[in-house]
């Protein structure tokens, strides 16, 4: 599958292997068909009821003024007012958008390329490869909430390592998690720390699938390592690249945990995810308003989810 960078050849398209198994379905007894319906139906209903319907519910609620307490029958539809309010009269929204974009840019321009670079370096027989790989992806098994705490030991204003090393004391000391000018960068470093290992793993898996003769052919043609990578290997990795791109975007959009454990996403750490949560479960409980932000988040995510699905499903047809 990885030997060609050409997108799905239309010839092998959707009609390819479909009729044979379809015939098999008709051979089944009625009892078998009931069993199959249950085997697929039960999980499908669960996913529908617990994921899709609530998502739809959020979209509907975003057009109402519900406060989350009154009976559902008293919900009033107020059109797009929540959306105009979010955009025009709610300053944290601007900050959140800026922070989410910052997240995306940093993950995309720093953490993701670094992960890829490390994968390329470690995708060869080096002594100690296992150690290097493990060291880089150990943060991946830790929860983001825990990552937030672990980095607090470094960022703390009075007891943290960073201020001690930089010699910042007393009035000069910086509260890396508290100062709204720097705290977003502090959590970006912590998030990237975890992201690099994840991306490295994905690329290592992708590189393992690359036909070695491709690289050899390029080497014989006199291409250097860097050129071999960018003009031969990288294009072949197209499916991985798209998966990584989408994962990076979705991680940036869903960013939540660290900001939430640090200060519930306030004071410089506003993110779309934390705004949704604090509007929904905060003191004010502005359900319609929070849902409008959630819907915007859903809409942007959907675009990338579609890209992701098209990529992986196309890869499947190719197989």
């Amino acid at each position: 599958m990885a030997t060609t960078s050409v997108p799905a050849p239309p010839a092998a398209g959707p009609t390819g292997g479909r009729d044979r198994p379809a015939r098999r379905l008709r051979l089944l007894t009625r009892q078998d068909r009931v069993v199959l319906a249950l085997m697929l139906g039960v999980p499908a209903i669960l996913v529908l009821g617990i994921v899709w319907l609530p998502a739809l519910g959020t979209v509907l609620l975003s057009f109402t003024n519900w406060n989350g307490i009154g009976p559902v029958s008293e919900i009033e539809f107020i059109g797009a007012r929540n959306y105009t309010d979010v955009v025009t009269t709610y300053p944290p929204f601007d900050t959140a958008i800026r922070n989410n974009i910052l997240f995306l840019v940093v993950l995309f321009l720093v953490a993701t390329p670094l992960g890829m670079f490390m994968a390329v370096l470690l995708d060869r027989e080096l002594r100690g490869t296992t150690f290097y790989r493990s060291a880089l992806y150990i943060p991946v098994v830790l929860s983001l909430a825990l990552v937030g705490f672990i980095w607090q030991l470094i960022y703390s204003r009075d007891q943290g390592l960073l201020n001690a090393v930089l010699g910042l004391q007393g009035p000069d000391a910086i509260a890396w998690y508290g100062d709204p000018n720097v705290n977003i960068w502090a959590i970006l470093v912590a998030s990237s720390w975890r992201h690099v290992g994840y991306i490295m793993l994905l690329y290592l898996a992708g590189l393992r699938g690359v036909d070695p003769s491709l690289k050899e052919a390029a080497a014989v043609d006199g291409a250097g390592q860097a050129r071999t990578f960018f003009s031969v290997v990288f294009p072949v990795l197209r499916p991985v690249n798209i998966v990584v791109l989408v994962i990076t975007v979705i991680e940036a959009l869903r960013a939540f945990d660290i900001a939430w454990v640090v200060n519930k996403g306030r004071n410089g750490l506003e993110l779309l995810g934390t705004l949704v949560a604090s509007n929904l479960i905060g003191e004010a409980s502005l359900v319609g308003f929070g849902s409008a932000i959630a819907t915007l988040l859903l809409a942007v995510s959907t675009v990338f989810i579609v890209i992701y699905l098209v990529t992986i499903l196309r890869g499947e047809e190719q197989r």
Binding site: D32, M39, L122, S156, Y198, L313
Partner: protein, 302 residues
């Protein structure tokens, strides 16, 4: 740094980052400058990445009184009291139990439901195959916050709010999407003859699933199981959303009990962090192969 080239082929002299490291089949060279740079870089990266964890471990073994006087950049004051303290004060025994109560059923049901769905989608063909696959896979990618309020209301209405069931059910539904996708890919790769032979033998579909296909999926199930245990254990969001009673929270939220309003004992916090990380680190060291397989199986189709 380019002047002290160790004896070796001249080609490696110019420190062009990666150049001199030959592709595997070429002759083994000695230590070229490039190699030294490469190893130095890798070592620095690895140590830098391990550092925050090692720092937490290091300070978790030190007495607060000692670090308060000497600062954290110091050596000495070793003790294991922080662990004892953290365990007691954080009530970690209870919280670990809670995590276990949530994680085990959530992972088992996720694997059961996703494997049945994957079995149908991978081994049988009907008109909505692709649509169903999208339906499952996309569900796992939606932002969790976007489901919060309707789900919350739902659980309140059916009296499941503030119970483990709410958290478990949500985990199962959310993770089933991902696992269905991975398992259906895996099952598709199994030879078609298997099912045909079973059909000829008159085995029903359930027997086909349970006795033939599922045992063959053991590697994929192990990989997914490992990954899911880590994810569910690490989750923070659903627990915070659907549980209110302080004594029902999973271990991930226990750390908050150790942070004071105005003053935080960081050595204690370090010990708490290490305790919480231990199960995932055990997974990391013991089941690393499965964990990596699970993670990459999903994203790149193995």
């Amino acid at each position: 740094m380019s002047t002290t080239t160790p004896p070796g082929p001249v080609r490696g002299r110019v420190p062009q980052r990666l150049e001199p490291v030959a592709v595997a089949p070429r002759r083994r060279r000695g230590l070229t400058a490039g190699r030294v740079v490469l190893y130095a870089f890798l070592t620095i990266m690895a140590l830098a990445w391990l550092f925050p964890i090692l720092w937490a471990v290091y300070n978790s073994f030190r007495d607060y009184a000692f670090t308060a006087v000497n600062g954290y950049v110091s050596f000495g004051g070793f003790t294991i009291d922080n662990y004892v303290d953290a365990w007691d004060r954080g009530n970690f025994g209870q919280f670990f139990l809670n995590s276990l109560i949530i994680t085990v059923p959530a992972v088992l049901f996720t694997l059961l439901l996703s494997s049945t769905a994957a079995f149908v989608l991978a081994r049988f063909s009907f008109r909505f195959n692709i649509a169903m696959l999208i339906f499952f896979t996309a569900a796992n990618l939606l932002p969790q916050q976007a489901l919060l309020i309707p789900l919350f209301r739902f659980y309140v209405n059916v009296d499941l709010y503030d119970t483990y069931y709410a958290v478990i059910i949500t985990h199962v539904a959310f993770q089933t999407g991902f696992c269905t996708f991975v398992l259906s890919n895996y099952m598709k790769a199994l030879p078609k003859d298997l099912s045909e032979a079973a059909l000829v033998d008159g085995a029903g579909v359930w027997r086909q699933y349970w006795q033939i296909i599922l045992p063959l999926c053991r590697p994929a199930l192990a990989a997914l199981g490992t990954l899911q245990v880590t994810w569910v254990y690490n989750d923070f969001f659903w627990a915070v959303a659907f549980i209110r009673s302080g004594d029902k929270f999973p271990i991930t939220s226990a750390l908050q009990n150790l942070t004071g309003q105005f003053f935080t004992d960081y050595n204690l916090l370090s010990a708490g962090s290490v305790i919480i990380a231990i199960p995932t680190l055990v997974v990391f060291f013991a089941l690393q192969r499965y964990f990596v397989a699970g993670l990459t199986l999903g994203a790149t189709k193995g």
